[in-house]
């Protein structure tokens, strides 16, 4: 089902992930968050931006531990854990945050 972002119609897969990562723009995250009734804060954006940077380098979302470590370094040790990330992204940081960031869904036994 396509989503409408700034007047453009962007294709997504059955699970709501962007079909073409190159079509991503910040508005994608805003639109997706609105559908989930979630207000995106700076804390959310820190995660989304990190995911995108990591993906650019490694062509995959970062492992949970890589993500929590990076968050811990940047925002303080008390925030470098899954609890904090689940607090921000209740559907799970690996999946919900990846979707907002335009990344493909992590697959497998995760």
């Amino acid at each position: 089902m396509p989503i409408e972002v700034n007047g453009k119609s962007l294709e997504t897969d059955e699970e709501g992930y962007l079909a073409n990562i190159n079509e991503w723009e910040p508005g994608v995250a805003e639109v997706m968050a609105k559908e989930d009734e979630l207000d995106l804060t700076d804390e959310h954006w820190d995660i989304i931006n990190f995911l995108r940077e990591y993906y650019e380098e490694y062509q995959i979302a970062p492992a949970v531990r890589v993500l929590t470590k990076a968050v811990g370094k940047k925002l303080g040790k008390d925030k470098g854990n899954s609890k904090y990330l689940y607090g921000l992204f209740p559907y799970g940081p690996g999946k919900q945050a990846c979707r907002y960031a335009g990344l493909p869904k992590p697959t497998g036994c995760v």
Partner: protein, 510 residues
Amino acid sequence: MAKADFEIPQLNEYPEVPPVVPGTMAHSKPFIAKPEFQEPLNFPGELPDDWHDQAIDAMGDLLGKYRSLQVYLDSCVKCGACTDKCHYYLGTNDPKNMPVGRQDLLRKVYRRYFTFAGKYFPKLVGAEDLTREVLDDWYSYFHQCSQCRRCSVFCPYGIDTAEISMAAREIMDRIGVGQKYCNEIIGKVFRIGNNLGLPEMALADTLEGLEEDVEEETGVAVKYPLDVKGADILLVTPSADFFAEPHVDGLIGYGKVFHEAGVSWTLSSKASEAANFGMFIGSYENMRRVSMRIREAALELGVKRIIFGECGHAWRVAYSFLNTLAGPFDFLDPKYPVPQHILEFTWNEIQKGTLKIDKSGNDDMVVTFHDSCNVARASRMGDEPGGQFKIPRNVIKAVCDNFVDMAPETIHEKTFCCGGGGGLLTDDLMELRVKGAKPRMEALRNVIQEHGVTNMAAICAICKSQFTKVLPYYGMDMEMIVSVHQLVSNAIVLTGQTSEDDDESADDAA
């Protein structure tokens, strides 16, 4: 936790057999694989016009290949012993989730086309034509079986519903009706080397990060080597161990055990996945292709032994089928079992006394153990019957003072599936996963209330991910689920390790 748009089952003090409510889960079906996910597995992309004839041909082919399938389809006497044994029935009340109800979806078509009575007197023997409605039912309900084989333990004829589900999925794949989750993943294994699609560079970076973390925590340079030629041991572990929590804590534990045992080991970027979803879809060809990577990696790296990490169905494939799928493994050291489970290795080291253990590392926990279905009912560990039950518990008890088992009818060979096995660990089946977890959640809640259990340990990547997701639906903490080797990791004292007290005082000073 995400909001639930379905009713979450109430947990009872005692297991209750629920009343039958037909059709409660008829709506449940996973996303169908698009052609791009079918074709790499050599399956057609879409349902062909002559799908009916092709499906019957495929069934005939499987009946010819697997004598067991025909025996299972012929021998059911409708005694009813299986009816209340499936976690999906217990959680959903849907009679098509009773193992016999599920089997009959395939059996009625088998009878119609392959038995004398069914060909000429179909109504008398419950035989039915294969119609589009029947196919839709197959797709729905053969994706509500986690192939855990609990029902087969109770069946007086030993009918294995898992094998029937696998056959049904294979028939559907051959007529272009595959499941997205499994088939996309198998394609990633062929293309990239693992279920996640984790490329070599990202894997190397992740492992480097782990080395830093362990050294920071312990002061000891434990290595997590990748593609080291000439290493003695190839560790094949689920890619979730690189990616998810609590899986990665188990991987850290394997590394610490190898380090202290003084053996040389390596991971492989080619065989960076233990899982073999080829089994879930019942496809011998795909299961074989996935397995061959392990053989190739072992040969290229020149290892002497292969050890599998904590992964349930991978251990079934490894223990029961690896030799015929990808053997012979005559190039490995014959002194060791091919393959070996990481728990066998760790238990040996504990018995030899090579590991220094400080159980106080787990003093904050009261632990119970979830037997994973494929390990419990389709494999063994060690060299005596029941080793697959004893060895994990022996290891837990060796590193943790507080261990309590759940109720006897929910453990060992009678263990309940986590609710996400057999290729069902996907978000589009969340209702099924939550409901199917009910029997396990009940048993867990009982030991929490009676014995103060704080954590449940598991040795399967699917179980760990599934529980992380479903525990909150039942009001329990997602972090209750731990890896067995995470417990080992907490208790192991590395040679030269700086104690935690030193770390804390260093932190205080800083």
